[in-house]
Every structure is written in C-alpha cells, then in structure tokens.
Amino acid sequence: MTAAAIPWRIWRVDRDRLIAATFATIIAVPLIIFVLVPLASILKKSFITPEGIGLGNYARYFAEPKFLEIVGNSFKVSISATAVTIVLAYGFAYAMHRSMLPYKNVFRIIAVIPLFAPSLVQALGLLFLLGRNGAINRTLDLGVEIYGFWGIVLSDVLYSFPHAYLILSAALAVADARHYESARMLGATRARIFCTVTLPSTKYGLMSAIFVVFTIVITDFGNPMVIGGDYNVLATEIYNQVSGQGNFRMGAVIGMILLIPAAIAVAVEKLVARRQYSVISEQSQPLAVRRSPRFDMLMFTYVAIVCAAILLVIGLVVFASFVQLWPYNLSLSLRHYYFDVQNGVRPLWTSIWVSLMAASIGIVFVISGAYVIHKFSNRITRFLYFLSILPAAVPGMVLGLGYILAFNDPSNPVYLIYGGMLIIAICNVYHYHAQGFLLATTSVKQISGTFDEASACLGAGFLRTMWKITLPIIWPSIISVGVFFFMRSMVTLSAVIFLITPSTQLAAVSVLLLDDSGNQNQAAAFSVCIMAVVAATLIVFHSLLRLCGVKNISLIR
C-alpha cells in the first residue's frame, strides 16, 4: 500500500457512491415529475375557484343532489361488486388449493382470462348475452334490463375476479400443515377448520384483495361507459365533465374524491401488511391436500360454473366478432376484421408500440429503482420507496387528468412529448408503477445479500456486480416485469383516455368508440385482437422461460 495509491482509492470509493447517487436521481426525477406533479396539479385545481383559493368547488358540487347521487351510486356499485367478487374468488382459490379437483391447469388459465382484455369487454359480452338485443332476451323474451346498476356490478365482478383470485390464491397456496393436523386431531369438522384455521391465516390476503377490488371497481371506467346506461358513477362523470364539457374544476374535485377511498385502502393495506408475520415459519410443513370425492366434486362443480360464466361472456365477444351482424345474422364472417371505419387497424399498432415502450421504460426504471432502494437504506431511498408505491393509491382517471392539468401547457418542458406516444407509455408505467415495483423488489430481495458482499470482497464494483451477478440471476423477473407492463398497457383505458389524440389512438379506446357509435361487432373484433396480442405475448415469453429452464416465474399478475 503506497501513499500514491491512496488518492486513486478515494476516487474509486467515490465512484461507487456516485453511481448509486446517479441511479437514485435517475429514478427520483421521473417519479416526482410524473407522479407528484400531476397529483399536485389536481389538488391545486380543485381548490381554485373563480373567487380565489378555497373549498368553494367542493361546497358547490356537494350541494348538488345529482352529484351526491353519483357519489352514492359509485359506492353502491363498488361495495356490491367487491362483496360478490371476494366471495366468488375466495371460493375459487380455496377450491384450487384445498381440493383435488381435476383440470386445475385449465381452470387456472380461464380464471385470469379477463386480465387479457380491456375492462369494457366484460360489459360488451354481457350486452351480447343480456342486453335488449342479447341472446337471452331474443330467445326467451324475458325483458331482462341489464343497463345500469346490475350491469355494472356484474361486469365489474368479472373484470376484477382475476385480480382477487391471484391475491387470494397466493394467500391460500401457503399453509402450515401442522395447524390443520392439530385441528383435525382435536376433532374439528371441515367447516370448523375453515373458520378457525383457514380464514384467520388468510385474513391479510383477504383484506388486500378487498381493497384492490374496491379500488378497481370504483375507478373503473370502461364497463360503466358501455353498460351503465343512465346510471352515472364517478369514473364516467369525470370523463364526461372533462372530455365532454371541458369542466376541469369539477373533474379535479371528482379526482380528489376518487383518491380518498383508494388512498385509505392502500394505507390500511400497508399498515396491515406490516403486521403480517409468522403465518409461515421455517418449521412449517407444507399442507398435503387429501382426496375427498364428494368435496372434490362439489368444488369442481363450483369452479366449472364460475369458469363457464367467464368463458360465456368472453366467448360471446369472440363469437360476435366473427358473425355478420349479432344478433340478427349469425352467419360467419370476417368482415369486422377489415377495420374499415375510424383509424382502421392503426390503433392496434399504436397500442403495441406504446406497450413495448412502457415495458422497456418500466423495466429500466422499476428494476433499478428496486435495486437501489433495496441496497441503500437511508432517508432518501425511503422517500423513493414511498413515491414508488404511491401510484397504487392513484386511480388511472385521476392520474390521466393530472397529466392534462400539469403538462398540457407549453411552458412545461414535458409539453414537448405531450400528445405523443411517449407520454402515454410513461403514464402507463407510472399508473402501474407500484405493482411493477413490488414485483421487482420481491425478486431483488430473493437474491441473497451475501452475493453482493461476496462480490465486493472479491474486488468487484457496483456495476460489475450488477452486470455479472444481479442481472444474470434476476433476468426472468425482469421479463415478468416487462410482460406485466406490456399486458396492462395493452388493455388499460382509464389513464390514457385523457391523453390520446387522433394520431395516437389506442386499441382499447377504439373498442370504446366503436361500441359508442353502435358498431358492437367491430368493437368485439378489436377486443379479440387485443386479447390475441396479449395471449400471444404471454405464450411466447412463457415458452422462452421454459426453454431456459425457468419454472418458478409466473407471468400473469
């Protein structure tokens, strides 16, 4: 160790710190610009009245009976749909993990199919089935009226079902066999075991699923647009006010109202999740499910009915896309795939481009964010963590509105990309940032911290460790993060509805517009294309991972 070597050493030390600081800045700046600034803009807008700053806007709208009715409608729909979804999904997940029913692999795929389609596809399918000209009314002439409350609830149940199922499935997948054996040895019946062991051990998953579903439903926009009829909810009202009447002030107030339940849900969930320990310990024994013909048959029937409902609604959309004119002329035809109205097939390509951009941006920012935040724990990274999961509490409509308010302004530097595909891709990344970030964090955490230390002790710097050790180990997770952002960007409607321009129209928006202009069959065809792209992507990457011998990564989130 010579004296001359010391300055070089200090330079090397600083270099690693510098790299970490650079990474932190690279992820912090966009988080602030694309999450905090839009939210601040909405907050500001909601308080600015013609008479100055104050609660005037809130006072004015809350004095309107019609507005209060819309708020009430939103809560009624959300609470009903959440209750139904949770019960259905819990039963489904329970059957999948705690019984020996056959064809589990098939059912597992069917359960998540609604994730492949924009939210309004469920409503579209329901209309084909139960609408005024739907299959039921035409054949049985029952006069079923699906527009309104029940339509929204039913389609949102279908839409949010896979989200709830995935969360509850994760909660029910792990179980400590010792608790179940003890309960059985003590003479508990199946029902009693369910109430005393199963439910308590999954209560955190249950809570999380409830909040996620509630947030999805109250902020869902596609289904109420298609099937809501005269039944207005907050999400459609914000669209009508902003896009239809340019009433940004009322939009901002509704945005703030939509933020509240979602924020409460996320905060409570985080608080609860923090206490989630010791359900499973190292000594836990995995639960071996035993065969029980009668129970398995019962569960099979239940799961089959739920899957049939999902398939029926989606299947009708697919079928309607291939017939001359549903429901009048059912002869098969490909004419709806010519896409000869509006922008033709271009929105589909735009969607694919935007989704690819979102996937790339998401991978870079989310993975480096997770890595830096996990590796360096200090006040700054804790703030970055907060910013990273903050979007979970921000409904897409609100984020999109925030983007208009903040960036549709030539004096803002972001205005340069405003109106283009990039801003839509960025909006999608930050809309789904929390989930993608948590996905990445889980995988970064899975690499033992001692790999970093071992690498450092052997003389490697930050970048070499990242390049040679971290990335080669977590690449399957990187792919799953990319696929996640791609999938969500393909189907999302809520945030981007405010950001599209005629030249950047997206596929999901096309479906909405086609439906709105009475071209249900073409809307169905467009939906099928979206679903096909998503499914194809999943199949390609799933096969790729399998080919590389990766088995334990799930691409569907």
Partner: protein
C-alpha cells in the same frame, strides 16, 4: 504487527454490537472469534472485511490504516456461512471471478483456477454449477474462490455451521492443513468451542461485544479469566463458597482448601467435572465433600454423576463405565486443591 484492531466500536442504533475491541494478530496466525450468538463476533469480522463501517477505532494492516478503504479494495478473502457461490456461474467461473476483478491475464487466471481447485480436491467438478455440488464441496469452492486472488487475510464467517456433523469434522482438519500450508493469516468466527479449539492458534472469547479473554485453547481451559470463559469453554461446576466458622472458604460444611484463592469471601470458584475424584475409602485427606446423588448417566467414554451439595449442584465425570448408585445415596468426592479455580467474588 500484521493485523491490528484498535479501539473498535460498532453500534447499531442504540445497541453497541462491538465495544472498544483491541487485538493484535500475527502473520500466518489462525485466530478464532468464539462466543454465543449476538456477542458481536460476526460484526467484528464484517468490520475487518470492510462490509460495515466502524463507528470508532481503526483496523491496520501492516501498520497502515484501512479506514475508508471499501471491502472490494481490501483484498481480504471472505467465506460466508451460506457459501454464497454465484448460482449463475460454474465452479471454475466462481473461482475466476475475483481474478477477473483484479484484472489478471487470461492464462494466469486459468492456471490459478486449476491450482486452487487442485488444492481443495475439486478439479473434476470445475464445470459444474454450485447447485450440483454437496454442501461440503460448495464450501470448499467458496474457500478456493476466496483464496484465489492471493488475499492478505482470510476471513471465515461460521464457514462450517451449515454442514452436517461428519462433513464438518473432515473439513475442519482440511481447512486447518490448508491454512498451515499457505501460511495465510486467518480469522474464523464460530460459536462451536470444539471447532475453535481444534483449529485455532489463539481463541478470542467474546461476550456482549467485548473480548473476555484471548489465549491458546489450553490457557483458556486451564486458566479461565472469568466465569463466562470458564463456562463457555468446556464444562465447569460453578460453586458458591461461604465463609466457615474459621473464616476460611467452605463448601457444604467442609472447609475447602484451594490454591490462588483470596482471603476474604464469599467466593465463587470453578471446578472441572473431570478433576473431581471419587473417594473409595475415606482417609483423612482434605477437601472431602459429601453430597447425595441426583442423577447418574453413562455416556460411553465417561460416566457423569450429578451430586446435590446442600442445594448446589456438583457434576463429576469419571472415565469409563461405573456402577451408578441409586438416587439420594450419599457419595463422597475429593476436590484437589489445585483444581479449584477462583472465578472472582460472589457478587459478580
């Protein structure tokens, strides 16, 4: 002095993990940090490795301070308890990794990898991935990887504790031989006193962040500095002596003669179970103590008898098998005066 630890203190929040540790380590010496979990031994090792920044004090290598030198520039070989071999690289690539970081030439790397794997008898496994090896093999690769860049010091963090008992014993001897052959200064952290006694030149006994005693195994065993060391290294009867009628220390009513014991009590002394003798015929020799038998067990090489002496327990170990008398039968033993080690005053 080769490696010098000066006034090292490390805190985690309000907890002081290592407190004012001073230690000098010679070149080519094998030193063990021994202590119960949470005693600060691993923290101390991580501070030496540069994986933690110390709050006070400094580490000196050949007289030069390592303050501000991060782990990757210290060139200390570190072997972790969890092996932490890179799962995405073959055995050979793992061993080569440190050499690549130090910018060795390609053929020099190849030669060194071969040399290191020969040293740990794993040359035939070079192309395998870590998960294809047994725990013992993985740990040997980890040692080869740590030694490859010719580190100044080898740091071992409980390297054997994740292994099966049999493998562990084989590896102890193998690693000690390797260390002697290479003459590399080595620090190993362990909570296993057998491991420390078998492998180390010197043992550093730690407790609650401070060093209790430093010495060779025999020194620690025969002359423990205090009660903690006495009880941690081997078995030790800890006896509270009261002052008898004549003011001399007494145990169960009998005056106990002992060497090196201070004049005023009350006292706490330690007696190794194997130093206590069974007395067949009661002559008039001193230090004869009678207690009642509480329990006797045969353990193969020794028979262990637990006596009750007016409420205090006394464990006696006798070589070989012994007819164990039934419970509550009185038994007289002799405690040789030179077997009584003072462990400080009773109030401690």
């Amino acid at each position: 002095m080769f490696l010098n630890l000066r006034n090292i203190t490390k805190r985690f929040g309000s907890v002081t993990a290592v407190q004012n540790v001073n230690l000098e380590i010679n070149e080519a010496e094998f030193v063990c940090f021994l202590g119960p979990s949470g005693c600060g031994k691993t923290t101390l090792l991580r501070n030496i490795a540069g994986l933690e920044t110390l709050d006070e004090g400094e580490v000196l290598l050949r007289g030069e301070s390592l303050a501000g030198v991060p782990a990757r520039l210290r060139n200390f070989g570190v072997v972790f308890q969890s092996y932490s071999l890179f799962p995405n690289m073959t055995v050979a690539k793992n061993v080569a990794y440190g050499l690549e970081c130090h910018r060795w030439k390609r053929d020099a790397i190849e030669q060194r990898v071969h040399e290191m794997l020969t040293l740990v008898h794993l040359n035939d496994q070079a192309r395998k991935y870590p998960h294809q090896l047994s725990g013992g093999q993985q740990q040997r690769v980890a040692v080869a990887r740590a030694l490859a860049p010719q580190p100044a010091v080898l740091l071992l963090d409980e390297p054997l504790s994740a292994l099966d008992a049999k493998v562990r014993e084989d590896l102890r001897a193998e690693m000690r031989d390797l260390q002697t052959t290479l003459g590399i200064t080595t620090i190993m952290v362990t909570h296993d006193q057998d491991e420390a006694m078998e492998m180390a030149d010197r043992i550093v006994v730690m407790n609650r962040g401070v060093i209790e005693q430093v010495g060779r195994a025999a020194e620690l065993y025969n002359h423990p500095a205090n009660r903690f060391v006495a009880e941690f290294i081997g078995r030790m009867n800890v006896l509270h002596l009261a002052a008898g009628a004549d003011g001399k220390p007494s145990l169960a009513g009998t005056t106990l003669h002992a060497e090196n014991i201070s004049t005023d009590g009350p006292w706490v002394v330690g007696v190794r179970p194997e130093h206590i003798q069974l007395v067949r015929d009661c002559g008039d020799s001193a230090n004869l103590i009678t207690g009642t038998i509480e329990r006797g067990v045969f353990l193969g090489n020794v028979t262990r008898i637990t006596l009750n002496l007016d409420g205090q327990k006394l464990v006696v170990e006798v070589q070989g098998e012994l007819q164990i008398p039934p419970r509550d039968v009185p038994l007289t033993v002799r405690i040789p005066p030179d077997a009584v080690k003072p462990l400080g005053r009773a109030e401690i």
